[in-house]
Amino acid sequence: MFGGVRSKLKAWIVGGIGTIAALAVGGALGAFDAIQKPAVVLEPGQPVETGPWVVRPLRAYTVDKGVYGLPLKAGEKALVFEAEMTNRTAISSKNYFTTFQSTGGTDEKPFVVLVRDSTMSPALQPGLPERMAYVWGLPAGAAPPDRFVLAVNGEIYKQRDNLYGAPGWYNEHVIGTVAMAVGTGPDTPDAKP
């Protein structure tokens, strides 16, 4: 009888120690994750590898007329950002909508256009660099910024993901930010590296 109580007590203590250890390890890992990593500042004109893409931010400018086949109503303005993008993966892909993200002052989602012939968001072919234009609408009455700060996002390759065991690009994360000088009109020159 007392033996039973003692063994139960022992089990409780061992279980408790295990739980506390697990909590401590989990907490420590979480704390490591929460540490703010210093933001990497990327240079305009320099190639950056994001995982699926190699991108080279080239220029940013505002327009008050339609650009690359995208219509714009009178009085509306848009912020255009252009980059050279190369598909590093082994398959045609249009996984580029969130590669560049506006950090504020514009509409949430950009239109993405192939500069070469104004095709709306085509899949880009492996190994063929293309110049792409990201076009953000500006809120009515907002003054365009002097410097346009973009977040550059990357992804990591997983041989098999946790849900389907399928290979692919996952875990999108910010690689760094790039600040582009904002010109006026489509004659703005490209940033030199």
Partner: protein, 192 residues
């Protein structure tokens, strides 16, 4: 004593078997992969839902075609590959929806979306006994021209369905890296 040794041996064998099964488990993506039907250019390849025979492959620097009454000139940083093929439905009406140019380095080029409004582009609906044709347009790296394979399937994502894999053979290259016999401009007309 003998019993203990036997038990340990059984345990080791079981562990070894489990390890072997774990390492040789096929990938989920392989288990649900399309089922290939192999062939070469000019062969008629019979898949579950459709038959396909590649007529010819042409390379071009630029493409010309009319879109909404406006003439388009499509340039490329690589080279255009235009594949024409004859199609037929097997025994019931079927669709052909996806084609991929797989280069010798296993780079996969889906049909170009820039030329997807030209005549003969996928998807194509087929009826049994009614001859069909398709013209597939790919934008590829010049290094992926020779020794490529054309993959054609009925659905965009076709797990466990048959997929034609057609060896397109080798193509001679010019000193500038472009394939021999490349034309400057290919017109994507309404007939082909």
């Amino acid at each position: 004593m003998m019993r203990r040794v036997a038990n340990i041996a059984v345990l080791l064998v079981a562990a070894f078997l489990c390890y072997g099964m774990q390492t040789t488990t096929p990938h989920y993506a392989d288990l649900t992969a399309p089922i290939p039907v192999y062939g070469k250019i000019q062969d008629t390849i019979l898949t579950r839902t459709f038959d396909i025979a590649v007529d010819k492959v042409v390379f071009a620097r630029t493409l010309k075609f009319d879109q909404f009454g406006k003439q388009n000139l499509l340039t490329s940083g690589g080279v255009w590959a235009i594949v024409t093929a004859r199609l037929d439905a097997a025994d019931r009406s079927a669709m052909v929806a996806a084609a991929t140019w797989q280069g010798p380095d296993r780079l996969n080029y889906r049909t170009s979306e820039r030329a997807s409004s030209a005549a003969g582009a996928l998807p194509i609906a087929l009826d049994p006994g009614v001859p069909g044709r398709t013209r597939l347009v790919f934008e590829i790296l010049p290094s992926q021209v020779s020794g490529a394979t054309l993959l054609v399937s009925g659905k965009l994502a076709g797990p466990l369905d048959s997929e034609a894999r057609i060896a397109l053979g080798s193509v001679a290259t010019q000193p500038n890296g472009l394939p021999e016999g490349v034309t400057e401009t290919y017109e994507l007309g309404d007939t082909f």
